[in-house]
Amino acid sequence: MKKLMALVLTLALILSMASAVAEGPAKTVSVVFAENITTLDPQDGISTANHLVNSMIFDTLVKSDHSGNYTPSLAESWEVSEDELTFTFHIRKGVTATNGEEVNAKDVVFTFQRLLDNPTLVVASSSWGVLESVSLVDDYTVDVKLKESYGPALYNFSGTFIIPDEAYAEMGNAMFSEQKLVGSGAWQFVEWVDGQYVRFKKNPNFWDKASYDPYYEEAYLRFITEPSSAISAQLSGQVNAYMLVPSDMLLMYGNNPKIEIQDVETGTMLYLQFQCKEESVFNDVNVRKAFSMAIDRDTIATALMGNSKVPIGIATNVSMGYDPEFTSETYTYNPEKAKELLAASNYKGEEVKILATTAVTNSQQLMLAICDYVNAIGFNCKSEIVEVATLGDLRARGDYDMFIVAGINPGGDLFHFTTFRISSDMHKSHYVNEDLNNRILEALHSTNQEHRNELYRSINKTVCDEAAPMVTLIQLVSHMAIDKGVVGVKLYGDGILDMSRVDYQP
């Protein structure tokens, strides 16, 4: 009798285990990100966390590959007028929002009209200053007119989420403030618990089910600030993926066979900007180049920055303007040549100071290493950590010798870096190069991506040759810890995170 019981129990155990294997893992997936969202209005939040949430719930007209290329999404196709001012989008048919309404050209018109009517919305003020008007051509065609031709327009379209007009007409802003979000994305919004998570469920009527019909029925984006807590949660199976794991915390994972650590080369660069005004020592190109050539970037990247990469100029391997064949003397570690350049310059041993904030990874060690390198060839360089707000004020006044901050090319497009940081000189470097500025403006206003790519290559070459107004130091590598079998959790080269196509593939 006892043997029979044991046999029955063993069989039951085997069967239950077999059924568990056949069923696969739980139908809920949880992904951790450190940053909380602060709004549900897709037009009033542009943080990485907000983008993560919006891309789950809403669609955009076009999709970016985050390296400067765009593919259809809600818009099946588009064309640009000859004067490069009007974009005509042809909207996909058969798209429905989670409230059942059809998403068509009227919703696109509503979305852009809301931006025109509310210029203080963050998306309006940060991306759509160039928007002139939007008009309905027919139910599936819409014209978006710009005030001036604008190269990065497609990047802006790829970040503007389409809000269903009928749902908004019914609820107004309560749609966001009372958590009643309606969208046409692959996932349906369920709830946001501030500081804890956003919960989604699979959108059963998603228009692109043919290419994406996830295994998971439910998804969570969890906000955990403390890395050790996030890693513990993953190790104990409470969450399935942790985006942007700090390098120094990777050891906590050990050799866990269930978790895969992915190293992702992002386009985030640490760069050093010089004060180039006439009375500054860095007004002299030889001083700037000597400073740059005295730094052994490869050693810093390996020893200090978690095996990061070394970029050449402001174009990285995940951005426009990148030329794999391009090399630059400015970026070649050559202390002897640096000494010669310094000797040929007007530099007389004046003290120069590098500023950075703690927001920069390993900023203190990085600055000390740089000071060591450059002092060895004759500079008198000091470093100082300052408050973020203090650096903001000093930069606004141009009251610095040098500072180190992080920069990125959104959408893999150099317009942001070149326009704001070089031609508009928003950080008051006082570096002026008319020819360079003209090329930057041309790249900004051209809609021919190939032409822009060429222009960015030449701009990058000039920035390297002149070592002005900045030299880049390190291209950071980020880490993602993802449970084996979980796919579709991505970090792109421009720092954008995405889990809108999360799935399970054993």
Binding site: D44, D194, Q196, S229, S232, A233, L235, D393
Partner: protein, 307 residues
């Protein structure tokens, strides 16, 4: 006499709150850098920074800004959070219940553990029980809450898979943060309970009561413990105020969405309006709790009102 004492303490509390409001306002406004610049993207122009300053009223003289702020406090308007773009009062009061929940749980756990241990250790001074109790207290007082929190997560979540380490999903989510916060408090209360009992048990009236043949258990609980209670009430009250102010580290480690986690986020994002109001609300909480503690102590020992 009692009413006079309460009114005097109330007056002191009001003065403290006024001073705190000035201090919070000054700290935030004297911090380096422009709050408006911090709220805007780093691509913002000087004109946009100036416009933002005007919108926030930061272009007005400091005394005017302070008076406007205080006017807002009395009308329930604590301003708008720059990161949430929403009412500061609404944000703070949506999180306050979570902090209160954790605070009450922590104090309940601490007292449940510490009072019996403290009493027994005090009664059996020098015994093995006393030694173990003091060992328990010493470790609790020496240990960092960060370390303890992570240790508990590693044991109960990662190794044993018994308890969740994050979020607020029912009673089980409360256990680890309450233990992390509660252990140091339990240690303090154990020591105070023990020393209080030792002192009281040496009093003549206790000897006399025991000599009268009253059962020791009744003497300890009814006569001795009541007088050993005052320092415990004071300490628990002070700690209550501290927890109310947000156990920043513990709330951050366990992803507990309370005032502490909010303060951490507000400081990290330079949300000046939120930081300023959090300081004020926390200080008000501490001041009110201290007032209540003083009143309770005066009830337990009326001699306090004479001081």
């Amino acid at each position: 006499m009692f009413l006079k004492y309460v009114l005097k303490r109330l007056g002191q509390t009001v003065v403290v709150l006024v001073l705190v409001s000035i201090l919070a306002f000054s700290l935030v406004h004297l911090a380096p850098g422009s709050p408006a610049r911090m709220m805007l993207p780093d691509t913002a122009t000087e004109e946009q920074v100036k416009a933002k300053e005007a919108e926030l009223g930061l272009d007005k003289p400091l005394p005017v800004q302070y008076l406007n702020y205080i006017k807002g406090v009395f009308t329930g308007n604590l301003g708008t959070s720059s990161i949430y773009n929403s009412s500061v009062a609404k944000i703070i009061f949506s999180r306050l219940p979570n902090t209160l929940y954790l605070t009450f749980a922590t104090i309940f756990v601490s007292l449940l553990i510490a009072i019996p241990i403290g009493i027994v250790a005090g009664i059996r001074q020098g015994s093995m029980v006393d030694f173990l109790a003091m060992f328990f207290a010493l470790i609790g007082q020496s240990m960092s809450t960060v370390w303890l929190g992570i240790l508990l997560i590693l044991i109960f979540t990662v190794k044993l898979n018994l308890l969740p380490s994050l979020g607020m999903q029912g009673f089980t989510s409360l256990i680890l943060p309450a233990l992390t916060l509660g252990y140091p408090l339990a240690s303090t209360v154990t020591r105070l309970g023990r020393s209080g009992m030792i002192d009281v048990l040496r009093e003549d009236y206790i000897t006399a009561t025991l000599a009268k043949g009253i059962p020791p258990r009744m003497v300890y609980t009814k006569y001795a413990f009541k007088n050993a209670l005052i320092p415990i009430v004071t300490t628990v009250g002070v700690q209550f105020g501290v927890f109310l102010g947000g156990a920043v580290v513990v709330e951050t480690i366990f992803a507990w969405t309370g005032i502490g986690q909010l303060a951490n986020m507000a400081v990290g994002n330079r949300d000046y309006q939120l930081v300023q109001s959090l300081l004020l609300v926390i200080a008000a909480g501490v001041a009110i709790i201290n007032l209540v503690v003083d009143i309770i102590n005066a009830k337990i020992d009326p001699r306090i009102t004479l001081m």
